[in-house]
């Protein structure tokens, strides 16, 4: 490219990037002064600057993309809602399965806790219950068989213990 050969030395290539800032009016004062000095004395860079400015003028004649209007945002939101709904439908079987598993697990846990707390440890019909019955008999004697004296009391206690 003709311009590249004109700017073929390192000093000039440093001004390539500055040129873009110059076109955008974004050069700081120090760089603007340095670049102006260079462009004044370098025909190649001056030509490049003019060419760049011309390209900007040419391209800025084109119509930028139009705003799609307020309907676009509404279409996007409708599409988002549809996508969200689809996602819900997609996960629905997994969600209901998860709920069923959770409910079953909770029920099983509740049964286990209840069993552990009392129902699983009902008194067994064995020694301890007999002993309680015996004690109960001792302190709530049948009025028809009341002992007549101290010896009979001792005999009853001995019998009761012997029976256990």
């Amino acid at each position: 490219m003709a311009m590249d050969t004109e700017l073929g030395n390192a000093a000039c290539s440093d001004y390539e990037a500055l040129l873009e800032d110059y076109l955008d009016d974004e050069l700081n004062a120090a760089d603007a002064k340095r670049a102006s000095e260079h462009w004044k004395n370098c025909a190649g860079c001056r030509a490049a600057l003019e060419q760049a400015a011309e390209s900007a003028r040419l391209l800025r004649l084109a119509e930028p993309s139009a705003d799609p209007g307020p309907a676009f945002a509404r279409i996007v939101m409708a599409r988002i809602r549809a996508a969200e709904q689809d996602r819900g439908v997609l996960w629905q079987p997994f969600v209901s399965l998860a709920w069923r598993v959770a409910a079953t697990a909770s029920l099983a846990l509740a049964l286990l806790v209840t069993y552990d707390a009392g129902w699983g440890h009902r008194p067994q019909p064995n020694a301890s219950s007999t002993r309680l019955t015996g004690v109960s008999d001792l302190f709530s004697p049948d009025p028809a068989n009341l002992p007549a004296n101290g010896d009979e009391v001792l005999m009853m206690v001995a019998e009761s213990n012997h029976g256990n």
């Binding site: 590249d4 390539e16 873009e20 800032d21 004649l61 084109a62 139009a66 676009f72 599409r79």
Partner: protein, 226 residues
């Protein structure tokens, strides 16, 4: 729209300039609300950025029939990913990166190249463009401006794709060098140097087309005389 701050509820007009600091601050608030599930806040973000997303997607794809679909997809992806967006970068930068990736994905999946004009500029089109460029007044009205854009796009087709995109996004669509660097993941200086070289190439193409058209015009005038 009840949860969106009042100052933001009235949607901004078409944004053709880079967002200023206040707008970025409002974007941050809208993003925060969107992350908390406020749909209206996201809708406002769509309104604020739709024009720039259209410009970016249109600058890369150039197929008007695809731009609408891809732009919708961009906002859908942004919505689905907004909870993971940590706001370290500006929302616009994050959104434009999604847009660029979506364009590449689209081109890859469809196995299409961006629209390439089959015919170069005709002699008549070159003189039309010459008339527009040398006219005292810029193109007036949407039709004339749209025609100018088409003529320029045809001329830009002669450039490598990256040069074309940079020039269109910078000069036609108004993206700043800083934005282009962030969107295209390039160093700022690299963007400037590439733009500088692309400018040289487009002006070479322009002068060659003009020279060819002038030569053809002279020849046909000579034939008529003869």
């Amino acid at each position: 729209m009840s949860n969106v701050p009042k100052s933001m509820a009235a949607s901004a007009p078409a944004l053709s300039l880079p967002l200023v600091r206040g707008e970025k601050q409002e974007d941050r608030e809208l993003v925060r609300l969107s992350q908390n599930g406020t749909e209206a806040a996201f809708e406002e973000l769509v309104r604020r950025h739709q024009q720039r997303v259209f410009a970016l997607v249109g600058g890369i794809l150039r197929r008007p029939e695809d731009v609408q679909d891809v732009a919708q997809q961009v906002f859908l992806k942004a919505y689905l990913g907004i909870k993971r967006f940590d706001q370290r970068a500006a929302f616009s930068t994050w959104l434009y990166k999604i847009a660029v990736n979506e364009c590449w994905d689209y081109l890859r999946k469809r196995k299409v190249r961006p629209l390439v004009y089959e015919a170069d500029l005709s002699e008549e089109q070159v003189s039309r463009l010459d008339g527009i460029v040398s006219a005292e007044r810029p193109p007036q009205g949407p039709n004339e401006r749209a025609e100018t854009r088409e003529l320029l796009e045809r001329m830009l087709s002669a450039l490598p794709e990256q040069d074309r995109q940079l020039l269109v996004l910078k000069e036609v669509e108004g993206f700043s060098v800083q934005e282009l660097a962030e969107i295209l993941k390039l160093n700022v200086n690299t963007v400037k140097v590439r733009l500088f070289r692309a400018r040289g190439r487009i002006m070479d193409v322009y002068r060659r087309r003009m020279a060819t058209a002038n030569k053809a015009g002279t020849a046909s005038a000579g034939q008529r005389k003869g």
